[in-house]
Symmetry: C2
Subunit: 173 residues, 2 copies
Amino acid sequence: MTQHPAPDSGAPSLDQARRQIARYGLPADPQAVLVAARLMAAGARLGQAGEVHFGRFGLSTGRYRLLADLEDHGGEKSPSQLAASLGVSRATVTGLVDGLEREGLVARRPSTEDGRGNVVILTARGADKLRDLAPEHFARMQALVGGLSVEERATFLDLLARVVAGIDALTAD
Amino acid sequence: MTQHPAPDSGAPSLDQARRQIARYGLPADPQAVLVAARLMAAGARLGQAGEVHFGRFGLSTGRYRLLADLEDHGGEKSPSQLAASLGVSRATVTGLVDGLEREGLVARRPSTEDGRGNVVILTARGADKLRDLAPEHFARMQALVGGLSVEERATFLDLLARVVAGIDALTAD
DNA sequence: AGCATCTGATTAGGCGCCATAGTACTTCTC
DNA sequence: GAGAAGTACTATGGCGCCTAATCAGATGCT
């Protein structure tokens, strides 16, 4: 087995935030910085956990998202459309489709409308895969937020959306 | 006409969640699943944004975290300790230190206490780097959660912590 | 028709995160 | 002193994502 990281490794403390801010005499609010840092740490942990979760089914986060998006659109979509709805580049979609095609979960067919285009279709095996993993997948997804009540989840959803809107602040300019 | 032309790529909708659950007649709560899915999408976006943010200073998320952790411990720490407090493997720390050492932000010294061990130290250049990026870094971190009031941030912090506790549910077993 | 251009998809290469497995070496313990 | 355990590094590999360059079909303009 691998060594399991210490209990709460990676999660910064309020004191750490305070110290860092104080060190340079900055006008930042420690609480705000703490929330932001915790959020980023949580995001990282979540990303890794997601990879583990999907790895259980022989998939990855990106591959699952592509598969699910395909299923949600009648099992047929062009790479460009996939790139747009997944929010990644077309090159990334090519890579994801390559992997999924290798495992027979998806197939490429020439587009009937556009000679240079493709259509990615969900194969029977791909649909089976989604059906098989669905019970466990959704149960675990639900368990992830199981520590919150319905009202709390609604609140969380709202706050999260507003934070997501603030992501631009990290990237802007 | 339909309401969502889907400009917000990557963020799943409640309808999608409902459809996916209904498709297999599962007992999952769409709202819970939606919150979980949004959370994971947010985590992914945050991770990328963080990489962009730190890239601005010629760093990456992992490298910054290592540097900051070092600074917070008097500028000296062993790779094993770093691995533990960052929550990554020792091999990963080796890689991060390699990169930072190449840029002169950090240096390796043989441990005086343990002949087989190293100590990673923060160089003057490394300390300068941290000081230089601090104002912008903290300002942006604060801006990230700027859309929330102080009370909301406190609430968010609490809810986030409880969700983080639920991450194990994704990985467990 | 002929040529420029736009668009779809892919390739090549890069960087990021991380993990495992194996090796070398030191230290500690019996 | 011999073996166990710990430290660190190397090598390899996976995944995610990106940009830039390329090829091929579609379209538009004259």
